[in-house]
Structures are given as C-alpha cells and as structure tokens.
Symmetry: C2
Subunit: 278 residues, 2 copies
DNA sequence: GCGTCTCCATACCCCCAGGGTATGAGCCGT
DNA sequence: ACGGCTCATACCCTGGGGGTATGGAGACGC
C-alpha cells in the first residue's frame, strides 16, 4: 500500500465520486478507478459499494478511510519534521495562544537561555484550534495547551500549573463589584459566558471587546488577568473548573533541546508556585 | 514520500549499510542508493553522512527514521484492520493475558451477548508484551491492560477496576503466615520480587513454579488470587501500588460492537464493585 | 418504453520510474 | 602502493501508472 494509493482512496472516500476525486487529484478518472480496484484486489476486500446510484463505502472502506487519514497525517508530519531538523541550526518552535502561557513564558525563556542544551526559541502565536494541529503536523515542536479543554491524545505532556478561573466583565455589570462569584451566578446571568457558548471566538481582542460591551462574560484562567484591558474587571469564579496549563509534544520525541525546555518549564512553574503573588 | 521509500530508508537507518539493507529488502544496492538520494533531493535535506568509514544518520536522518517507523506501523495497521473489517461477519478480538481480566470476563461476556450491537468475541490469550502490540497492529480490537505497568499512549482507554496487590509465595516462606505485609517486608527479603526485578518472566506457570520453589515472591493483582496453584499462599500487600485494569483500544475507533463491549464492561465492573466478596 | 444523461469500467497506448548489471571512485588498513 | 570494501554512476530494460476513447449499467424525463 503506497501513500499515493492511500491518498487516492482518501479522495474517493471524501468525494464519494470518482470523477470529482480524480479532478481533485489532478489525474483522469480511469487511472483512479484502476488504482482503487488494484487496492481492493491486493487487500482482498471490497472497499466501495458501486451498486447504488451514488457509490458508498463498505464497512471495510470506512475503516480504511480512517486509517488512510492517519497514515497521510503521519507522512506529512514526517516530511515537515525531517525538513525542519535538516535546516541550519536547530530551533525550537513553541506554539501558544496569546496569554496562554499562564505567565510562565518570560521566566521560562530567561531560564532556558542558560541551559547547556538550549537552542533558539521561536514563538508561534496562533489561534486556539491551531496549536495542537501545528504540533501534530510538525510545524511546531511543543505547545502550551489547556486541560481539560484540549485533546492530549497523541501527545506526551507535562502539567505546569493549575489555575482557577476568573470572570471577565464590563465594570457596569451587576456582578462587577463582587469579590467572587460562583458558576450559578453566571449561569443565571442573561449575558452568555465563554468559551462554552461561543467556541467560535478565538481572538482575545474580539472577546474583550464583546465583554466591554456587556455582550458576554468570559471565564478565563486567572493568569490572563494581567493582560486584559483596563476597562474590564475580573472576578474569581470560586467553583469554576480549574484549567491545567500543560506543555505537549509528540510522543516519542527525542530532542535534547525539547527535554531541556520541558525540564526548565517544570522548574520555573514550581518556583512560581511558591510565589503566587508575583 | 511513498511508503516504499520510507521502508527503504528505515532499512538503511537500521543496518547503517547500503549493501546489507538492499539484501534485506530483496533489491540490488544501486537502486537503493538512488532511492535514498532521491528522497534527500526531494526533502532538500541530507539524511545520511557518507563521509566516514561507516555511514551515519544526520540529525534529520534520525528524525526521519523515527517518523518512518511510525508511518510504516500505521500502514501495517491499516492493512490488517481493513482486511479484518472486510472478512465475513464482524468479530471482536480481545487480547488479554491469562488471569489479566480482573475476574471481569465471565460476567462481561455473558452480559455482552445480550447487547443489541454485540458480535462474536474471540479471545486472544497472549504474553504480556504482546497485547499492546496486537492492538496497535490491528490484530486485536481491544486489550485488557494494567496501569501503571503498561504504556497507554496511542490508545483510548476505560478504567474498569482498581486492585490492590497480593504477594504470592511458598507456604514455607517466613512471611507466609502473615495476614498482610508491607513493601518494606518484601524489599528486605532475600528472594526477589516480581515483576519489578524479573520483567522477562511472562509465563504465569513459570512464575508460580519459581514461587513454589521459594526463588521469588510475585506481587500480583488480587484478582489473580483465585487462579494460583493451591500450593502457594497469597498475602495482601497493604501499601503496594494499586493496579488499574483498563480496556484499551486505538484512538479514533468507531465501532458499535466495540462501544457496546466497553460500555458493558463498565457496567459489569461497577456491579462487581458493589459485591467485592464474590 | 425509449432516448438520454451520468458515471464507472474497460481497452489500448505511451512513457518514465524503478530495478538490474557493470563499473568507477573514494577511503581505509596493511 | 595496493587491494578490499563500500557507495555512486552509467546504461539498459521492463512494468506499471497515466492518458484518451469508448462501452455498459442505472436513473430520469417525456
């Protein structure tokens, strides 16, 4: 099973149409039909049900569609990781969303610079949904992720710190004067909360703008507190789900630079834990 | 990057010798050299350092060697899973070591048979190290694994029950009369324990034979207690690391039969938890 | 019910990529 | 310096992957 064949099958499985799949692949339809037939012969399994008016995947075809996607992802990751490893002097690409480092990054970068295995660090500031994908695809080496909001399957990870939540809201809001709130206070509120109800807002500026306008209340990790606009107030949510800031990297990575980065991060996080007021 | 090329590179990376790698691959040496050169040109990266007396992998080559192994594993898994899905009526292959089901299997199989999504269940009784590999390669659909002794990366899993440990020993042993022991009692003992010091013993019969002879003390999950030879005594280890029996399956599996099996297992495990004396 | 349209399979051809053999080139060790 | 080991190069050849043209099997309209 060559990757080309798997890519062909993946295209057919997605389009459910040989002609369109062939067009997308940049080849003619007959070679594509033959390639799929050959794949079926070699596996000894029917992958596509061609009897109906529209073609459909057999159960085996469904399985192969998922497996093929995994293989193609692995191949793409292999390419980017290999190329990155071969270019010039090594660098470490760290993916995070703005403010998503739990306040650890300044101290971490300073401490990491002094480590014997340290290399140059590139920061990839990106949207929420991008970070895990970047690491999976090899564009980034390691990412700051937030449990339990993000899926850690396929990653090794190191928890750095556990943070409570604060509710970010307009000063005009009726809860703005409170020393703390509970989830129930927010649930009863007419203004919607985030990120539960608005997962599509990935941009902090947009989020804060909406909060200022009283359109929503955002529950964010407490470390974000220092970066919010001055015209917003933050009120701790006592019973909010705590967020764990973790460093995540692909399983099986063997890189001294990465190991040093993770180790340094753990040290820095521990040190900060004893000085939480900073 | 075709899988053939990756297999070629993996062979070279393993043998560190073009001639032997070519022999292993069943091709001549020149085509292999060319294939690797082509790979390097396409990636724009040097993979192999040919300057020394023995060839060596560059850092990029090291990366690709690991990534290629992942891809080839994924391809092999894709083939076996697809073929299994296409053969006749579906079956569910459950991998476990003898006695490794925490006593859940009889009740689980009986309850599963009644489930609407149930299919025939094949039991693959295999050695300790085989189970995870079988699921990873697609030979089995799901396995009983034991945390924290086995690596769950790449799997989704469902914990079923937590078990304490019992020390299995000859009746002649000085601790055999005790109602319970602590780790310290065993650590001070001249006879070695298992599995910590003897991971190579994967066969329960061998293990028990050695225990009978007083050559070792085996610390095993308490559910194994019912299956040990009658000429052995089991003494609870109060402060032993608890073993969690989990069901593990490949991430991303979509199978009603498997979902039903896992769900049933959870139910059965819960029910058993309320009747621990059974 | 027949023509037509759509869509996949088949037939046939071409060409290049991948494989083989022979041989050269570089690097040791003696 | 020379022979041996090992990888690269040169050259040829074949198979298979890709192209075009066309057939055949349902689905739909009238």
């Amino acid at each position: 099973m060559e990757t080309r064949e798997l890519a062909y099958f993946a295209a057919v499985a997605e389009e459910l149409h040989f002609g369109r799949a062939a067009e997308r692949l940049g080849i003619a339809q007959p070679p594509l039909s033959r390639a799929i037939q050959k794949l079926e012969r070699r596996l000894g399994v029917t992958l596509i049900d061609r009897s109906g008016p529209r073609i459909a995947l057999t159960p085996a075809g469904e399985v192969l569609a998922r497996e093929a996607a995994k293989v193609l992802d692995a191949v793409a990751a292999a390419r980017t990781r290999t190329q990155r490893a071969g270019r010039a002097e090594p660098r470490l690409v760290v993916a995070l969303k703005p403010g998503g480092d739990g306040g650890l990054l300044p101290g971490l970068l300073a401490a990491y610079r002094g480590h014997p295995d340290a290399v140059e660090v590139d920061l990839a500031l990106c949207a929420v949904s991008e970070r895990a994908r970047m690491v999976r695809e090899g564009t980034a080496d390691v990412a700051f992720l937030h449990c339990p909001y993000e899926d850690l399957t396929g990653f090794d990870s190191q928890p750095l710190r556990v943070e409570g939540g604060v509710a970010m809201m307009s000063p005009a809001h009726r809860l703005a004067g409170r020393a703390f709130v509970h989830r129930a206070d927010l649930a009863a509120d007419p203004t919607p909360c985030w990120p539960e109800q608005h997962p599509e807002i990935s941009d902090p500026a947009t989020l804060m703008q909406l909060a200022v306008l009283g359109r929503l209340i955002a529950v964010v990790p407490e470390s974000v507190r220092d970066h919010v606009r001055r015209d917003l107030v933050c009120v701790p949510v006592l019973d909010g789900t705590p967020t764990t800031v973790v460093l995540a990297w692909p399983v099986g990575t063997r890189s001294r630079a990465l190991a040093a980065f993770v180790h340094t991060a753990t040290m820095v996080a521990e040190r900060l834990a004893y000085m939480p007021s900073s």
